[in-house]
Structure formats: structure tokens, C-alpha cells
């Protein structure tokens, strides 16, 4: 038999630089967890795996490669290193056994991009109807909306450092959108740059 087969993210190493940078973030573990978000068991297993506090409505809490994001009243997205997903899933099944819940590995379902630069917000504002101004879209908020013609979600890792996720099949489209919107010479100069 041949050697170990290689796993790939949607657009390995894809990167573009304009007035902002766009980089594909590579493989990352992700689990969709649906259940009663008010139940302590769900909270515990989610925060345990995420290594962060339970986020509120529209919230996301991150630390390094881990995060817990609120996706809907009965859905969380847990993020972690790619290799840790199976263990995490096992943990969930063990903890929530007998409860009504759904947990699926969705690590390969999505593609992720980092939009970085002082004017990163402008790149998004060209493509989404969501309000991405500093007061409406601060750190700690995850916004699910549209980017161009496809659904996407985005949040701030830090000011000037926005993470965007979309479905894997449209990774190229979304990358092209972001790269095009970030082209040098198309700055809008709308959002005041924090100093």
C-alpha cells in the first residue's frame, strides 16, 4: 500500500495583498453542537473543549486555536486543532449520552480566511449588508450574514484582524471576492483607523 494520504484545506496557502491582506487559515477542527444551550451539561462540555467561557447570543469566545461561537439559539460551533476533533467528539458523546443533542465533525465543511490590516473592516463592508462598524461589530461578536452571494460568518480576532468562514465549495469564490475588495487603490477611507 502507498504512503499516508494527505489531508488538505480548501485553498492551501492562498494569499493576496492589497490595502488589506487575505490569507487562507488552513486546516482547523470544528464541531457543530446542537442542543439545549441552557443545560449545564452542554455548557460544560462546550466550554471544556473550547477552553473558554460560554458565549452569549451572537457571541464568540476565543483563545489561541480554540473557540466557542454562538450560531443560533440551539447551535454552537466549537473550534480546536484539527487533530483533536475525534477526542472532542468522543468527549461530547460521553457527556451528553441520553440527552437530545447533535454533534458532528464539520472540520472539512468550511474554509476560513484571515482579513488583516487597518482597513480590514472596509473589505467586509464592500461585500456584506451587515453593519461592520466598530460599535456594531466589536471583538467578541460573531455575525452570520452574506458575503457577496453566499452565506458566511465573521468575527474579530483583534482589531484589524477579521476571520471569515464560508462553505468549502465556495472557498475560491470568497477568496476572490475578498482579494478583489482589498485591491490597492480601492480604499474607501470610511472607518476611522484606530491609533
Amino acid at each position: 500500500m502507498s504512503e499516508v494520504w494527505q489531508n488538505q484545506s480548501a485553498l492551501p496557502g492562498a494569499s493576496a495583498t492589497g490595502f488589506a491582506r487575505v490569507d487562507e487559515i488552513g486546516l482547523r477542527g470544528a464541531i457543530v453542537l446542537r442542543g439545549d444551550l441552557s443545560s449545564s451539561a452542554v455548557k460544560n462540555v462546550a466550554t471544556g473543549i473550547g477552553g473558554v467561557d460560554m458565549p452569549g447570543t451572537l457571541g464568540i469566545n476565543l483563545v489561541e486555536e480554540r473557540a466557542v461561537a454562538w450560531m443560533s439559539p440551539d447551535e454552537l460551533l466549537l473550534m480546536m486543532p484539527y487533530a483533536e476533533v475525534d477526542v472532542a467528539l468522543g468527549q461530547i458523546h460521553k457527556t451528553l449520552e441520553g440527552q437530545h443533542y447533535l454533534a458532528q465533525n464539520v472540520s472539512d465543511t468550511r474554509a476560513g480566511f484571515l482579513v488583516s490590516g487597518a482597513r480590514a473592516r472596509e473589505v467586509l463592508a464592500k461585500l456584506t449588508p451587515a453593519d461592520v462598524s466598530p460599535d456594531a461589530f466589536p471583538k467578541g461578536v460573531v455575525r452570520r450574514s452574506k458575503l457577496g452571494q453566499v452565506p458566511a460568518a465573521f468575527w474579530l480576532n483583534d482589531e484589524g484582524d477579521i476571520e471569515v468562514i464560508c462553505f468549502r465549495s465556495v472557498a475560491q469564490y470568497v477568496f476572490d471576492l475578498l482579494a478583489n475588495a482589498a485591491k490597492a487603490g480601492s480604499e474607501v477611507g470610511y472607518f476611522s483607523i484606530p491609533d
Binding site: 500500500m1 502507498s2 499516508v4 494520504w5 494527505q6 489531508n7 488538505q8 484545506s9 486546516l27 457543530v32 446542537r34 442542543g35 440551539d74 437530545h100 443533542y101 447533535l102 458532528q104 465533525n105 464539520v106 472540520s107 472539512d108 465543511t109 468550511r110 472596509e122 463592508a125 464592500k126 461585500l127 456584506t128 449588508p129 451587515a130 453593519d131 462598524s133 456594531a136 457577496g148 452571494q149 453566499v150 462553505f167 468549502r168 465549495s169 465556495v170 472557498a171 475560491q172 469564490y173 476572490d176 471576492l177 478583489n180 475588495a181 485591491k183 487603490g185 480601492s186 474607501v188 470610511y190 476611522s192
Partner: protein
């Protein structure tokens, strides 16, 4: 003649000359010029031809309301027709050409139309060209079309790019004149998030031209202060060259930013469409001067008085050496005074008001300007440019007192507030008789989501023509708007301006009052569309009494300026003709955009590769690199077949089908939908979703299922696998993935919300590869030690298999009738697994195959395909799939629908196989028909083809179709009329035409 003054021109830079061309002729202008001011500086009075009569046309205005000066700009991929010279900023190397004439602007054959004017009245099209019938298409219409249109149509693909930008603000201020600036300041001072947009390249609007004193300083200095203050506010954004294009529901406003029109080499997007959500919008869009209606008011050299003033003050251009001013209000005097102060000759001011004007009139008189009150222009003299004016009494019928020589007539018919944006979204107007204009009715504003008024008008756009009142009005609007969005305005007085003591306007809709037919027939209302006073009067006489009727019948206000100059004058003439007051007549509907915006800007970035998302499977690049002939399926692209060497697609399909039947083929099935359904009530839920039973499906087993809508018609099908006690995996069609998932969620959220079920669409988590053919097992066994034998892994089951250390979920199902496995691995692994399986498959002479081979394979087996055998009107029973429709279940989605009389009609068309007697391939879409005809004379049809292919396996055409109670007519031969008049004889046969026993898939 029209010339550039040695000095002056507040907007131009005498130190920065620029070269441009008009109709190929090189001309000079300055930075800061508009194309219009530069043309005038070069004494170019005749700039175009009118739409209908091809009359000579000159520049009439200095802004967005210009009806005449439309030019073609640029060339090739950057050519743009119908651009207004008055809103085109000059740049070095600008190329412009005039429009709508042949052979040349100065000598235009079409100009004969103006002598036919009499036989081309309003609506003449409707009364002429009636006979003979054939002539309309072949003679009349081609002639009319040829003379129609203004600019040339672009030929090439647009060389520029465009984009959108979404913003959410508290207060949007549209218009950067003094009112807009003041309103934005008042709002900005409260801390509200403010966006201020101005369509021109300059702040301040008319005020600096018209002059005045505010808070003790010149209005010019005052506006500079406002701009400086706004600039310093963090919470305020200011954008020039950005027009408020349209106001839509729920506070949605479009801003049209012309980024590079004035600097084509600047790079970046040409236009940017701002998509603004504003809690409150202030329209400080100013006012537009009205022309006066006198004979010959369309001759080049007749211009709005304010425009004459603008060209002199802003651009240092004297439109004429001798400018006659004709007015019915005080504002006209401002032009006379401005020109006089620049040392230009003003032979007289013709003031229609018997009592004449106020303070400004006195100032003019003191400058030694001759003033004639109670007078009118009976007739403007000249052809391609003004040579003089015949003056008469306004009260009379036009008997001429004297002729005054002049080369420019500056006319002022009063002002109309720009109410377009206020009106786009339902804002209502009131007629202000004192000022003779419509202005926004503050009591009936456009309403927002909470039923509150969300738009306010400010300044002259609100009818406040006087500087002092306009400033107070704007200040109030700014504060109110901010307050409404939750900010607290500080107290403080609005700026104070000296009020000019103006005498009231005298509405003059016809000059002179009693003008006779010959004069009225040469009095223009709509300069671009050639609508005259007599046309409107004729429309009224013929019963086109609604303003909308008159507009459509005469084309008044339907030109590219959308009647900015003509509407009110036309309205007044119509009202007079109908003997009713102007408000009783009402206005036509104002529709977006305020001035035309580029289609490119509307589409934004969505062009070329970004036109629509293209969904790609993990193996997409491989297909592309290996001869895939693509077939769009929704937003996916799937390989239709793979072309090798000089194969035709048909050859390729034949090769692919044969390989699968004889040995082995691989198909990228990743696009198939995969939905996880989990929970204590999941089985019960799936029993409602599918027509057949799913709750009793054994763990580890697979079952083919059908889904219907409530109408009972088939919408999707696929294999369902039981994963564990409370988890099912539902496969859908490629197109179905998203909407079937949505369909499930809809029922769960809105009907059975008490059922304990969760779903997840995991379609994109998995790459799925169909390994199909007699050697399928042999191939997989090369990669695993797991037991894949028929006993350990029977047909219609699934199991987790380790393929070279990769955990794969393998379904033993078949859509081809062959031994077949569908191998699902995490999407990220898909490409690697695909490559390795292909490498391993070489020894079996395997091939990859596409959707067409897939279709042929399933058709040979009589398997139905959603979208081919179904079209939204077909039931499972029609397809003889009753075995998959549970009789036991008391309910499922579609069950009740299928009980309706028409759906259980025994005469329904049902699925059969079709075989042409000569073995040829039946054409797609063909119908079977009898000789009978229905009451409407249509041939009676009794069936149709749903799928038809050449079968490489059977070496003949095979087809499936729906035939009137077909299953009872096996062996019967029916007629399929062909389009060439021949008839195909076709035998009704069993849909399954290959391996009826189904042995091959069971080995």
C-alpha cells in the same frame, strides 16, 4: 460670442490649462472646468440635436438638470453615451462627441423634421403608419427606430471595474450646499453618526455664487468654516462626487460615487455604489430654476439665468457679450448684476411683473441696467444661435414693441425645489401658491419601519429659497434628525443671514399671456424630447386629462433629464387647458434614480469570475485538468464527460459507459446532498418527510426514499442510511441538498416544533466517490483488509471501512445496476483518495465518468432521475413507484394531495419504456399525439419522452416516457410526430431494458 474672461472663475485654475477634443476638434480648458464651461469658453454654442425634430441644441443649464448637452465620452472599452457635459469634469485628453445627427452636428439631415413639425404633433405615431399592415414591421418601424435613440450604443466589454459599499448611519444628509452643510453640522454636533454626500466636486452649492452675508461674514467664508468644522468631526463622513440616487423603504438609500470619471488614470473602481441604511435622511438637494415659455426658447444661447451666472462666476465664462435677462422673479436680477459687475453688457432686464422687482431690481437699476416691467419676450431671434429678441407686453398677444439685439438670453421662470428623493418612497407634496412650486409636505413624509417619518427636506429643497430661512430650516432639520436617532442637540441659535427684500414672483406659464398658435407652436417645454405647449394642449383636448396620460402621450418629461426643467411648466399648461388648479392636476410619479446611474455600478463586483459563486468539489481541479466537459448543475459544475484525445463527447460517453459495464468506473459524487437527522423523534419525522417507511430501517442498512411536497408531487429522492439508534443520514439530489435541508427545518420549526429532532447539512464535510463496475470490489480490496465480501457487506448496507489508514464510510448502493460502492471520506481527503483509487484502478482499465454516462447507465436500468422523469407535476404513482409509497402510514407530506381527483385520475400519464421501431434515438422532448384535436384546435397529446439516450450496451436508442395509462399498453405502438413533419413509430416497453433480474448489482 461666448468667451473666457481674462480673470475670475472661482472654481478654475488659470495656471493649469488642459486640452480636450469635441468632435475631433482640439480645444483648451482649465482644471476645474466642466466640459460644458470649457465648450462655452471655446464659443461652442451648438452642442447637440433634439430627439424628434433634430433642432439645434445649446447648453441650457449648469448642472444635473441639463436636457441638451449630452455627449459621448471616451472610446472603445471606455466609451459612454449620453453623458451630460454640465456634470462632466474636464480632464486633460478628454474626448467628446455630439450625438443624434447625420452626417454632422452642423449639417444634420434629420433637421428636416423640424419643418414637418406640423404633421408630427403629439401622438402622431398612434394615428399614422396604420396601413398597409405589413409596412409597420418592414418600413415604418425601421425608419422610426433609425431616427430613435440618442448616443451610439457601446460596442465593447467594459474596461472598468465597479464596487459596492454598505454603511449604516444615524443621519444621512444628501446635498453639500449651504443647507446640507448646516444640517450635517447641526446633526454632527450632537455626536450622531453622519454621512454627508454631494453630487458635484465642490461643497457650498449655489450660495457662494448668489452671495450674501451670514453671521457678519461673507457666505463664502461661512461655508468654508462649516466645511472645516465638519472635517474635524470624527463622527462625520463627507463624500464629494457622490449623488443621492434613490430612497427606498426602511431607510435604504443609494449613493452613486463617480470615483474616476474625472481622472480615468487614477485606477481602482470607476463607480462605487453606496448602499446606505440611515435612521434619518435629510434631503438638502436644492432647487432647480425653471425656463420661461416663449417662442424660440430652445435656440442655442437661451439659457437659465442661474446657469449664465454660474458660468461667469464659477468658470469665468461669458456666455454672451450682450445678455438679455428675462424674468418673472427677483432672482433673474442677480444674473444681470453679476454680469454687469464683470463688465459685460446687459441691454435690458425684461420683467414680466407689472410692478417689477424689489431690492435686487433697485440695485440693478442703480448699476444703470435698463429694466422693462410688464414686458415679455414675444420671440427669440436666430437659428443655430441667438441674435436678438422681440419684446412685447406680457399682457398682450405678442405684438412686438421692439427688437433687442443680443447673443444670449438669460431666462428665469422661478425655482422648483428638488423633491425627487423626498418622493421616491412615498413622500407627498403640497402646492405653494405664493412661490408657485411644489414642496415637501412635512405632514406626509416617507414612512419607515415603525411608521415614523424618516426623511426631512431642508433648505431650498424644502422651499426655503431665501438664505436666512434656508439656514434656519437646515439647522432645525439637522437637530431634529439627530434627536430622533437618540442624540441630544445642545441649545444654540441658528446662524443668521441678512434677508434680501424680494418682491413676489408672478407665475408666468406662457409668454406673452395671449400668445397665438404660431408662437405656442414654437414654445418648447421639453427641450430634449421636443414637446411644445401646443402638444400638451392637444393632449388635453383629446381627453388625455391625467398627467400620466399627457406625459405618456406627448413624452413630456420622459427624456434622460426626466423632466427636471419641463415638468412644472408642462403641468401648468395642462392645468390651464383643463381649466383646473395645478394641485388638482398633480405630478407624475418620481422614480429612482435622480439622474441615470451606470449599470456597471448596479452590478458592482459581480462580473466575470465573480458573477456568481461557482461551487467546486475537492476533485474539481482534477476534472478540469483531465478533459472534463462541464455541465452546470445549480451552482456546481459537474463533468458531463471526460474528453480523451480527439473524442467527441458522444464517443467519450460511449467509452465511459462501456468501461463501467465491463470493468470499472469512478464518479465524483461529492455534490450529492448529505443531511444528518438525529433525535428521539427522528424516525417519526422521516416517516412524514418520505413517502415510504424510514423509522423501521435497520441500523447499518440503506433504503431508497422519495420525497413529495404537500401537493403530492415528487421533489427529491435519495438513499437513506440508518447510522445508529436515533441517527439517520439522508442523501439528496445535487440540486436538493440545500432546499431539502431547508424543507426539513421548516417543518421542524414551524409545524412540529415539539418533536425532538436536530438536523445538520453535512454535504460539504464529505467527498464521495462512486466506485462502479464488476471490478469495484477488487479495487477497494487493494486498499483495505476489511471484509467487503457479499456476505459481510451485502447490497443496500453501509459500513465504516479503513482505506489505507483513512476512515471512510462506504455505502453499497447502485444507481447503475452494477456492483457499486459509494466511498465517503472527509472532504480534505477527497483529492488524495481520488488520486490513489485512480492509480489503483489502472490495472482494470478503469475510467472516470461523468453525468451523461451516469444518465445512460441509470436509464438502461429504468431508474428515474429527478428533473428528467419529474418536472414538478409528477407523482410517485405516475412513475410506478407505488412500492415506495407506504400504504401503512396514516400520513406523510403529500399523501392528502395525492388523494385529489386529478392526481388519482386513471387516465394520468405513467412511466413506460419507449423503443423506436427503427432503433434510432428518440429526440428529447418529443410528444406522442393522436389525430384528434381539442376545442382550441390543438392536437391531442397522449404522452411524452422524459429521458432518451443511445445505449452503448444495447447498441440502440433507449428511452423512458410518460404515456396515458401506459403500463396497461405494453407492446402497443404509438406515434411521435417529429418537427420535420415525419412520424416516429414507438413501441411501449418495460422501462428496465438491461439486467431485468438485477443480478449484476447483487454479486
Amino acid at each position: 460670442m461666448s468667451t473666457r474672461l481674462a480673470t475670475g472663475g472661482r472654481l478654475i485654475d488659470h495656471a493649469a490649462p488642459m486640452t480636450f477634443t469635441f468632435n475631433g476638434k482640439e480645444m483648451q480648458g482649465y482644471a476645474g472646468d466642466t466640459l460644458a464651461s470649457a465648450l462655452l469658453a471655446n464659443d461652442r454654442m451648438l452642442v447637440g440635436r433634439s430627439f424628434k425634430y433634430h433642432r439645434p441644441r445649446g447648453i441650457m443649464a449648469s448642472g444635473a438638470e441639463e436636457p441638451n448637452a449630452l455627449v459621448g465620452l471616451g472610446r472603445d472599452g471606455q466609451f459612454e453615451p449620453n453623458q451630460r457635459a454640465t456634470t462632466t469634469e474636464l480632464f486633460d485628453g478628454l474626448e467628446s462627441t455630439s450625438q443624434n445627427h447625420w452626417p454632422s452636428l452642423d449639417h444634420d439631415i434629420g433637421a428636416v423634421n423640424q419643418y414637418l413639425g406640423r404633421v408630427l404633433p403629439a401622438g402622431f405615431y398612434y394615428k399614422m403608419f396604420l396601413y398597409p399592415r405589413a409596412f409597420w414591421k418592414h418600413v415604418y418601424e425601421p425608419f422610426i427606430r433609425h431616427s430613435a435613440g440618442l448616443g451610439k450604443a457601446p460596442q465593447d466589454r467594459d474596461a472598468d471595474s465597479y464596487e459596492h459599499f454598505h454603511v449604516h448611519v444615524d443621519v444621512l444628509v444628501i446635498g453639500g450646499g449651504i443647507a446640507g452643510l448646516q444640517a450635517a453640522c447641526a446633526a454632527g454636533r450632537t455626536g450622531a453618526k453622519v454621512l454627508l454626500i454631494e453630487q458635484t466636486a465642490h461643497w457650498g452649492g449655489r450660495a457662494p455664487v448668489d452671495g450674501g452675508v451670514v453671521d457678519g461674514i461673507s457666505v463664502d467664508a461661512f461655508t468654508q468654516n462649516l466645511i472645516a468644522e465638519l472635517d474635524a468631526m470624527e463622527n462625520v463622513t463627507m463624500r464629494l462626487r457622490t449623488m443621492g440616487a434613490g430612497v427606498y423603504d426602511h431607510g435604504y438609500v443609494l449613493g452613486y460615487e463617480r470615483r474616476t470619471d474625472h481622472a480615468p488614470d487614477m485606477g481602482g473602481p470607476r463607480h462605487r455604489l453606496w448602499r446606505i441604511r440611515a435612521a434619518r435622511t435629510i434631503t438638502a438637494t436644492g432647487a432647480i430654476e425653471r425656463p420661461l415659455s416663449f417662442s424660440g426658447n430652445d435656440i442655442p444661447g437661451v439659457m437659465l439665468a442661474s446657469a449664465v451666472r454660474d458660468y461667469a462666476v464659477n468658470f469665468g465664462v461669458a456666455v454672451g457679450d450682450r445678455t438679455l435677462v428675462v424674468t418673472n422673479n427677483d432672482d433673474g436680477y442677480r444674473t444681470a448684476i453679476a454680469l454687469k459687475n464683470l463688465g459685460l453688457d446687459v441691454p435690458a432686464v425684461i420683467d414680466a411683473r407689472p410692478a417689477g422687482g424689489g431690492a435686487l431690481a433697485q440695485e440693478a437699476a442703480s448699476l444703470g441696467i435698463r429694466i422693462e416691467t410688464g414686458k415679455a419676450v414675444a420671440k427669440a431671434l436666430g437659428g443655430k444661435r441667438i441674435t436678438g429678441a422681440a419684446v412685447c407686453a406680457q399682457a398682450g398677444t405678442g405684438s412686438v414693441d421692439e427688437e433687442i439685439e443680443c447673443d444670449c438670453i438669460a431666462m428665469s421662470g422661478g425655482w422648483s425645489p428638488v423633491v425627487h428623493l423626498w418622493s421616491h418612497c412615498g413622500g407627498k407634496l403640497i402646492w405653494d401658491a405664493d412661490h408657485a412650486f411644489f414642496r415637501p409636505d412635512p405632514a406626509r413624509p416617507p414612512l419607515g419601519a415603525e411608521g415614523q417619518g424618516v426623511v426631512m427636506a431642508a433648505g431650498s429643497a424644502n422651499g426655503a429659497l431665501d438664505l436666512a430661512i434656508a439656514l434656519a430650516d437646515a439647522d432645525y432639520a439637522g437637530r431634529k434628525a439627530a434627536e430622533a436617532t437618540g442624540y441630544r442637540p445642545k441649545r444654540g441659535r441658528p446662524p443668521e443671514a441678512e434677508q434680501a427684500g424680494e418682491a413676489p414672483i408672478l407665475p408666468v406659464w406662457q409668454m406673452p399671456e395671449g400668445a397665438d398658435q404660431t408662437l405656442r407652436a414654437k414654445t418648447w417645454l421639453d427641450f430634449q424630447n421636443d414637446v411644445k405647449v401646443t402638444d400638451v394642449q392637444l393632449a388635453a383636448r383629446e381627453g388625455f386629462e391625467s398627467v400620466e396620460h399627457t406625459k405618456r402621450y406627448t413624452t413630456l418629461g420622459m427624456a434622460t433629464d426626466q423632466g427636471k426643467l419641463s415638468n412644472i411648466n408642462g403641468l401648468a399648461v395642462l392645468s390651464e387647458a383643463l381649466g383646473q388648479a395645478i394641485p388638482a392636476t398633480g405630478t407624475t410619479t418620481f422614480r429612482p434614480p435622480y439622474t441615470p446611474i451606470s449599470m456597471g455600478a448596479i452590478a458592482g463586483e459581480a462580473r466575470g469570475d465573480l458573477f456568481q459563486p461557482l461551487r467546486r468539489t475537492p476533485m474539481h481541479e482534477w476534472h478540469e485538468a483531465n478533459g472534463a466537459e462541464w455541465e452546470p448543475v445549480g451552482q456546481w459544475r459537474r463533468p458531463y464527460c471526460y474528453i480523451q484525445g480527439d473524442e467527441t463527447p458522444a464517443d467519450a460517453v460511449t467509452r465511459e459507459v462501456t468501461a463501467v459495464r465491463q470493468s470499472l468506473g469512478l464518479l465524483d459524487a461529492s455534490t450529492l446532498g448529505k443531511i444528518i437527522v438525529k433525535g428521539p423523534d427522528a424516525g417519526q419525522f422521516l416517516d412524514m418527510m418520505y413517502t415510504n417507511m424510514m423509522s423501521n430501517l435497520g441500523i447499518g442498512k440503506c433504503r431508497y426514499g422519495l420525497m413529495c411536497n404537500e401537493n403530492g408531487f415528487l421533489i427529491d429522492d435519495g438513499v437513506v442510511a440508518r447510522i445508529d439508534a436515533d441517527t439517520w443520514l439522508c442523501h439528496t439530489t445535487t440540486g436538493g441538498a440545500d432546499h431539502i435541508h431547508a424543507h426539513m427545518e421548516e417543518w421542524l420549526q414551524t409545524e412540529w416544533w415539539d418533536w425532538q429532532v436536530y438536523t445538520a447539512n453535512v454535504t460539504e464535510q464529505w467527498a464521495q466517490i462512486a466506485v462502479v463496475g464488476p471490478n469495484a470490489r477488487n479495487l477497494l480490496e487493494k486498499f483495505t483488509d476489511d471484509d467487503l465480501s457479499a456476505e459481510a457487506f451485502p447490497f443496500m448496507t453501509w459500513k465504516d471501512v479503513t482505506l489505507n489508514s483513512v476512515r471512510a464510510r462506504v455505502f453499497r448502493i447502485s444507481f447503475s445496476g452494477e456492483l457499486s460502492y459509494e466511498v465517503a471520506t472527509p472532504a480534505g481527503m477527497g483529492r488524495a483518495v481520488w488520486n490513489e483509487l485512480l492509480a489503483g484502478a489502472e490495472e482494470f482499465g478503469a475510467t472516470t465518468y461523468g453525468t451523461e454516462a451516469l444518465h445512460v447507465l441509470r436509464a438502461e436500468k429504468g431508474f428515474i432521475m429527478i428533473g428528467d422523469e419529474t418536472d414538478g407535476t409528477v407523482t410517485p404513482q405516475d412513475l410506478c413507484l407505488n412500492w415506495a409509497v407506504s400504504k401503512k402510514k396514516h400520513d406523510f407530506i403529500g399523501k392528502r394531495g395525492q388523494q385529489r381527483s386529478h392526481l388519482c385520475d386513471p387516465k394520468r400519464w405513467r412511466l413506460v419504456g419507449l423503443q423506436t421501431l427503427d432503433g434510432s434515438v428518440l429526440p428529447d422532448g418529443a410528444y406522442a399525439a393522436t389525430q384528434a384535436r381539442n376545442a382550441n384546435g390543438q392536437r391531442k397529446t397522449i404522452g411524452r419522452v422524459t429521458s432518451t439516450y443511445y445505449s452503448p450496451t444495447l447498441k440502440r436508442g433507449i428511452a423512458m416516457g410518460l404515456v396515458e395509462n401506459g403500463p396497461q399498453r405494453m407492446g402497443e405502438v404509438i406515434d411521435f410526430p417529429m418537427l420535420d413533419g415525419t412520424v416516429q413509430q414507438v413501441r411501449i416497453v418495460d422501462p428496465v431494458q438491461y439486467d431485468k433480474a438485477g443480478e449484476k448489482q447483487n454479486v
